[in-house]
């Protein structure tokens, strides 16, 4: 059992938790993730290691409430425990040897992108962080992203923070203005990562994306997380989650991501009903 030592609401849909998990904390590196199972009946879901404290033996996760499991996780409070918390899994991001990077986060993806910005920065690279959100009121981790980068560009779809546009607009603008990026890291919804890759391909800038496939074991046993990269079958949980974005077959991944969409909607609806009933009692 893994105890939650701190819980923080970041906005209406996102929560940060600090979990006591000494084995994970001891080895964790930027780009790696954990798989957790809330209780005996729960699914196993992957979440990125957003931060860790080796001394205290804690690991931070940041999750967006999108379905049954993340909603269930969000019902746990400080002092409660998570049944299974497995990691660190996946390969650490390879971030050494770059001079000037653009790290791009889309919505919840910022929680995954920000540790990478932090790691790049610590390795001595100049880092521009470009973060995109639907609107100003759901911006998260602003201070953390600012601290992890030389320049932070915050974009909103509706322009409510005064910077209307997509992350690709900001990226294109910077490149056109002469920013000599030798690396772009893009993490967020699949259509966003695909759009970034299409753009950076034009400019010939190496681009790393983080693949958020559906996963079960996280050890290479089930093959459920497979993606086609450069024509080869790769398993995101052991060969990734980071891949060369220019080689990923995004169209296939986008279809696979919807495999359980109908079933998930149903179980989320039921779960919300139950929460409401409990609240009424």
């Amino acid at each position: 059992m893994f105890q939650i030592v701190q819980k923080k609401r970041l906005n209406d849909s996102m929560t940060q938790m600090r979990v006591q998990a000494p084995y994970v904390a001891k080895k964790a590196q930027a780009g790696q993730f954990i798989i957790l199972r809330v209780n005996e009946y729960g699914e196993r879901i992957p979440l990125t290691i957003a931060d860790y404290d080796r001394e205290a033996g804690t690991v931070d996760i940041i999750f967006q409430k999108v379905g049954k499991t993340t909603l269930l996780l969000d019902t746990l409070e400080e002092g409660d425990s998570i049944l299974d918390f497995i990691g660190p899994l996946g390969k650490a991001s390879e971030l050494e040897g770059y001079h000037y990077a653009a790290v791009i986060g889309g919505g919840a993806g910022c929680a995954i992108a920000y540790p990478q910005a932090k790691a790049l920065h610590a390795l001595g690279a100049k880092v521009d962080m470009i973060a995109g959100f639907r609107s100003q009121d759901i911006i998260i981790l602003e201070d953390e992203m600012k601290a992890a980068s030389d320049q932070l560009y915050l974009m909103t779809d509706d322009g409510s923070n005064g910077h209307k546009g997509f992350v690709t607009d900001a990226l294109k603008q910077n490149i056109e203005a002469g920013a000599k990026y030798d690396l772009v890291v893009a993490i967020g919804p699949l259509p966003m990562m695909k759009a970034v890759c299409n753009l950076t391909k034009e400019y010939g800038i190496k681009t790393i994306i983080s693949m958020n496939s559906i996963m079960i074991d996280g050890t290479g046993m089930c093959g459920g997380c497979r993606v086609t990269v450069g024509g080869e079958t790769k398993f995101a949980c052991v060969d990734g989650p980071d891949f060369d974005g220019h080689l990923v077959d995004f169209d296939e991944v986008m279809k696979r991501a919807k495999t359980y969409a109908e079933l998930e909607r149903e179980s989320t609806r039921e779960f919300n009903c139950r929460l409401m009933q409990q609240a009424e009692q």
Binding site: Y23, V24, K27, R37, Y41, G42, E43, R44, K68, T69, L83, D84, F85, I86, G87, P88, L89, I216, D217, G218, T219, G220, M221, C222, G223, G224, R226, V227, T228, T233, V238, D249, E252, K255, R256, K258, T259, Y260, L263, E264, S267
Partner: protein
Amino acid sequence: MPNMTMTKTPMPEQKPDVRNHNFEEVALGYTEEMAVGEAQRCLNCKNKPCVTGCPVMVPIPEFIAHVANREFEEAYQVLTKATSLPAVCGRVCPQETQCESKCVRGIKGEPVGIGRLERFVADWHMANSKEAPKKPQQNGHKVAVIGAGPASLTCAGDLANMGYEVTVYEALHTAGGVLMYGIPQFRLPKEIVQKEIDGLRAKGVTILTDMVIGKVLTLDELFADGFEAIFIGSGAGLPNFMHIPGEGLVGTYSANEFLTRVNLMKAYRPEYDTPILRPKNAAIVGGGNVAMDAARTAKRLGSEHVYIVYRRSEAEMPARAEEIHHAKEEGIEFRLLTNPVAIHGDESGKVCSIECVEMELGEPDASGRRRPIEKQGSNFELPVDCAIIAIGNSPNPLIPANTSGLEVNRRGCIVADEETMATSLPGVYAAGDAVSGAATVILAMGGGKKAAKSIDEYIKSKNA
């Protein structure tokens, strides 16, 4: 007077058209009367040919003689000297190619039902024995065991009996390996595997789940923690794909994923959250136990048509005869000498058919099996909304990739000495599917046993 009936005492079973709608065990087990009757068919041969067919040399005539005398607990004591998981072996061993293939009663008629008797004895013991397993006297030496499949469980059990302090590290949240995540409930109830694991715990073995060795801890760190030897029983869990078009479609599963969702994650029980597609029609590619299990599972999830697509003929199928028989009874449709060439999807990326080509058998290949050759222009499509790939598994590269100096062969199998199971690293032993490639439960157990013996000798000689 021996019972000279030519055929085995039939196994009581759920009716095919009932059981293909539930996940309860198919074979119900012998009653005491049936077991005694079947045991009396054994001639107690002096030269024990049957024993030579068993990879762990179960003293077959001895345990069967006890059954014939209604000494069921004594029979169990004989059995457990050779196999630590008799309730499992009795159910899943391919007896027709092992022990029973050598039985003299099989020359004219059917062999003695050795597996069925083994299962009976183990089940009788579980139901009737009140004796709690004793915790052996500890000798103060620590051994780490990686993985919790049959190879590891056997090795851990033997070492615990010798007095070692054993810690098992399992990557998944449940111990048991393929016995828990692969082989379905209707063939091997998980409660039985759980009992065996509880028995190990009672002997003092510590089992830590959620521990992916190579990631969470390395072998060097285990040695630094005071373990004097390490056993690797990490299995062959890496699913092979065919690399044909359509393997990325929604509705294409590896058998591992399909079976893991149902067995380990219990997708068939409503109280569990695990999602699974319940196909209307499913095609399973392959001809082994894994393919049969996936097919019978799909049927139980409600599929109307379930096809086994296999490129050779039935004679070459690696699945146990009993499983093929059960699958046919349950309405699984066999498309033999048929090879898939592509999986087709609709505009939303969901599987809508599997395109196959007919095959004919040519000359025998290196494995001695006749090589299938494509019949030109014989392509046809089976309308299915799910394709499950069950064409084999390879050893998982995670541990070798994170352990310098651990030698593997071309197929990714850990190289280990056949007799001692010693690997290229001092103090590190390995057995089971991780060494042999995908094989059988009993071979994995046999390897785990050998390794336990070698580990004991290694630690003794080091401390001498």
